[in-house]
Symmetry: C2
DNA sequence: GCTCAGGTAGAGGGATCACTCTACACCGTC
DNA sequence: GACGGTGTAGAGTGATCCCTCTACCTGAGC
């Protein structure tokens, strides 16, 4: 059942987001997923696969949160986008990006590294699309990643700073 | 001996930077520190203390790398600063900030969280001082953190983007 | 009513890990 | 030459962890 898979992925994401990647044992993950150990291992044959399943689920939810029903006007879209990064931080991860956390927990894992790269690249690409800033993906990535990290220290002030940086980006374009 | 302590801290920093915080066992850390297990535990009575010792050592080295003999002229200082962030990434951490890694490995640890906050705050404060951008600490933090994270994907292009963002910051000021 | 896919519950193996403890070596000082 | 401080070497302990495996339950379809 895809239903079971979805339930497992959602539970795993929640567990890793709350407790990090090092702490939760597979039995903790089983509790979070709400299935038996056997079923958990059926869908994710190793703990590493559980991490990947959680990140995949996270990726979809993050894109949804950032880009669903974003305003059409480019300026409004950029402001809304950065606001949404702020609300994501406030409601979902008070401590940095889950993808960075996964890589940090296992720096030698090239597969994880690839997942992070693809995640970042897709976020930047869609951000550039949505804000009419094609070709400025790298700048957008710097701003969004910077906001994600600085948010822990400065909260809403970091969001406002990111907006100002984003606006200057548009002026440079003109 | 402070000498032994320094040798231990340097070894621990190198081990955690290379292999992350989850993987190295205390015996690995002992090998990296180049002392016996007993001596290691004498200076760092638990594995958590080993993490703190590594971060403290890292903090000093990072500040040194960024701010020692920085140009006096504000514009040149900012460019040099961001270049140095790039060289730090290239030579020391190809995968994100060690402080974030430590927090990510143990999100519930408030002590680690405090260390990260103080680290970021001091870096931002000294960056504002050195570049004549007093009062723009948060913007500088967003740019430097964004560069640190985006570097893994875009290397030198990320540095150039960060410089442009930094320059726009100065124009806003005028 | 039987089957069988897909689920639960949970004990156990084999390995690893953080940490402690004993026994011993070196070296400058009195 | 005795001694105390500082170091090494390494075995052992108790706990935890990832993963496997056995035994059983449930409910829809024929």
């Amino acid at each position: 059942m895809t239903d079971t898979m979805h339930k497992i992925a959602a539970g795993l994401e929640r567990a890793f987001a709350t407790h990090g990647f090092a702490e939760p044992s597979v039995e903790d993950l089983r509790d979070a997923a709400g299935v038996s150990l056997r079923t958990l291992y059926k869908y994710a044959p190793s703990r590493a696969d559980m991490v990947l399943a959680a990140l995949e689920h996270r990726h979809g939810r993050y894109l949804s949160h950032l880009f669903d029903e974003l305003p059409d006007a480019p300026e409004a879209a950029l402001d809304a986008l950065l606001d949404r990064v702020g609300t994501w931080m406030a409601t979902e991860t008070s401590h940095g990006c889950l993808f960075h956390g996964a890589v940090a927990a296992e720096p030698g894992n090239e597969r994880l590294r690839g997942v992070l790269s693809r995640h970042n690249a897709e976020v930047a690409r869609r951000a550039a699309d949505a804000t009419g800033l094609a070709g400025r993906e790298t700048e957008l990535l710097v701003i969004m990643e910077g906001l994600t990290q600085a948010w822990a220290l400065h909260r809403d002030a970091a969001v406002e700073c990111a907006k100002r940086l984003g606006m200057s980006l548009r002026k440079q374009d003109a």
